[in-house]
Amino acid sequence: MQMAAAARPESATRRSRVKGQSRLMSERILESLLVLSGLVSVLTTAGILYVLAWETVQFFSEVSLIEFLTGLEWTPLFADARFGILPLLMGTMLTSGIALVVAVPFGLMAAIYLSEFAPSKLRRVLKPALEMLAGVPTIVYGYFALVFLTPLLQSVVPGLSGFNALSAGIVMGIMITPMISSLSEDALSAVSNNLREAAYGLGSTKLSAIFRVVVPAATSGVVASIILALSRAVGETMIVAIAAGQQPRFTLDPRVPIETMTTYIVQISMGDVPAGTLEYRTIFAVGSTLFLMTFAMNVLSQRLARRFRER
């Protein structure tokens, strides 16, 4: 630009220099606007931490941390209020555990099929089709669990209540299956073909090459996908809020109504509890617990995933 300006008559040069300066100014302004929009995400994290910490600290000024972490009763709305989070934690673990029991075999087998057996044309259709499962709004899955799966299971499982962890967990498992299949498939496909060929060269069959060489080589990626799926199940809200019930219960029985941490937050939010009360703060204390759990799982998953990508 400067070279072009030098060839012009004097006045034009000055004009274009002035123009250039104002252009420089607007470039600077634009650049700082871009930085600002990047900072919005940092501010979001700061906001989440601040809101959760602020209300949680106030919650723990009234309730002891020991009671919160070890109490077996969660009855914050009763006259005799108890604040032991273990029943909610157990509800979350139960539904997420059932979801994993469904999603891990399905997701892994699907991943192995897509990466080792499926013709590439079929894979290009099947992978997005499976990913569609994760795009369906969770409220739709909740409806499915309550209206379709629970009545179906009731004819097979004796004593299954209308709200239960089993049905919600199974449907949640279907929802998170594509997370495991997609990410595990990436990890399996990333395993170098040299390894497969070396296994064949040593006389191994296709199945033993898959299970003794390919899957072990992709372990960190596969485990990362499972942890990520678990984190998603732990934070999942609508399926359990609709189909698993609202009764905090310290039990491993999948047939009875339970309550997860997320359902409790929904239950209180629907009830229009006034701000500043202890009841209002319970949802932030439960939210903090949920946030810490999912955050730990996400970080772990990212570490593992990075390891397989570096390789």
């Binding site: 470039e27 650049e31 930085v35 739709v140 060929e197 006389g203 609709i242």
Partner: protein, 297 residues
């Protein structure tokens, strides 16, 4: 590659192996197709339950205590307001952040911080965003249980999706294009505005529409922010209280009477059709833009 390997085993009398492999592949196929079959069952069940209930009255009526007279008008209007506002808030911010990360900040510490941060935000459960919205927008900023508070919450929720998809789209523009433009004397911003962004536009648009469609189906954060389950009026501005389609569906699903479950199914059909329209639009826009771009070059 596997064929020759199999032959060896067949010669060795490994027909039991062949059978085992066939069984394994069959099991894999079940694992792939059973979830898809369940999804089809789900859609079939929804259509069977909900379609007979769908009518012009259902779309244009206000909610009611009587299931047969209840409609989704305020909820659907609320959802439309929400996604427009969410798009207005999330798209400029998300695209801006992506441009900063891809075109400016490449190796700076700030960019690295933002990047890690976005990766972590993508894994935060949506209900936590609801708590953020409740604490920040509804209480601290005093927006109340308004459309704006709901949309701002959803915007923060889908921001990582917009940033990630925009970055991918920007990355598809070859470096040589940028260099050619800079060599012709264009400034950095001119290069981005007039050369890079137009080329990346199909990807940016698709990602943005998908993000908005995700926002449309979100229920949990809106429940926490305080969307109304019973809305007998249409929202009259961004500070109005509001309902939303997923909230209405949740309300109906939570009632014991079967007639309301039918309403819920019909509501879900409407919600899914709206999402389908958005996704089809995303594909259409992408193809249109790609075709236009192809002709230009």
């Amino acid at each position: 590659m596997p064929r020759s390997n199999l032959d060896i085993h067949r010669k060795k009398g490994g027909s039991s192996y062949v059978l085992r492999e066939k069984l394994f592949v069959a099991a894999c196929l079940v694992a792939v197709f059973l979830p898809l079959l369940l999804l089809l069952t789900l859609f079939g069940k929804l259509l069977a339950d909900g379609l007979p209930r769908l009518s012009w009255e259902f779309l244009t009526s206000f909610p009611s205590r009587r299931a047969a007279e209840a409609g989704i008008l305020p909820a659907a209007v609320g959802t439309l307001y929400l996604i427009v506002l969410t798009a207005l808030l999330a798209l400029p911010t998300g695209v801006g952040a992506a441009i900063y990360l891809e075109e400016y900040g490449k190796k700076s510490r700030l960019a690295a911080l933002i990047e890690i941060n976005i990766a972590n935000l993508a894994g935060v459960p949506s209900i936590i965003y609801g708590l953020l919205g409740l604490g920040l927008f509804v209480r601290t900023l005093g927006l109340g249980r308004s459309l704006l508070a709901g949309a701002a919450t959803l915007a923060l929720l889908v921001l990582p999706v917009v940033v990630v998809s925009t970055r991918e789209a920007l990355r598809t523009v070859p470096l040589s294009t940028r260099e050619a433009c800079l060599a012709l004397g264009a400034t950095r911003w001119q290069t981005i505005r007039q050369v890079v962004l137009p080329q990346a536009l199909p990807g940016v648009m698709t990602g943005s529409i998908l993000a908005v469609s995700r926002a449309m189906g979100e229920t949990a954060p809106l429940v926490v922010v305080g969307a109304l389950a019973y809305v007998p009026f249409l929202p009259d501005g961004v500070f109005a209280q509001f309902g939303a389609l997923p909230i209405q569906i949740f309300n109906w699903v939570s009632r014991p009477q079967p007639a309301f479950l039918v309403n819920a199914a019909a509501g879900i059909v409407v919600l899914l059709v709206m999402m389908l329209v958005l996704n089809a639009a995303a594909i259409l826009v992408r193809d249109r833009l790609q075709a236009k771009h192809g002709r230009a070059s």
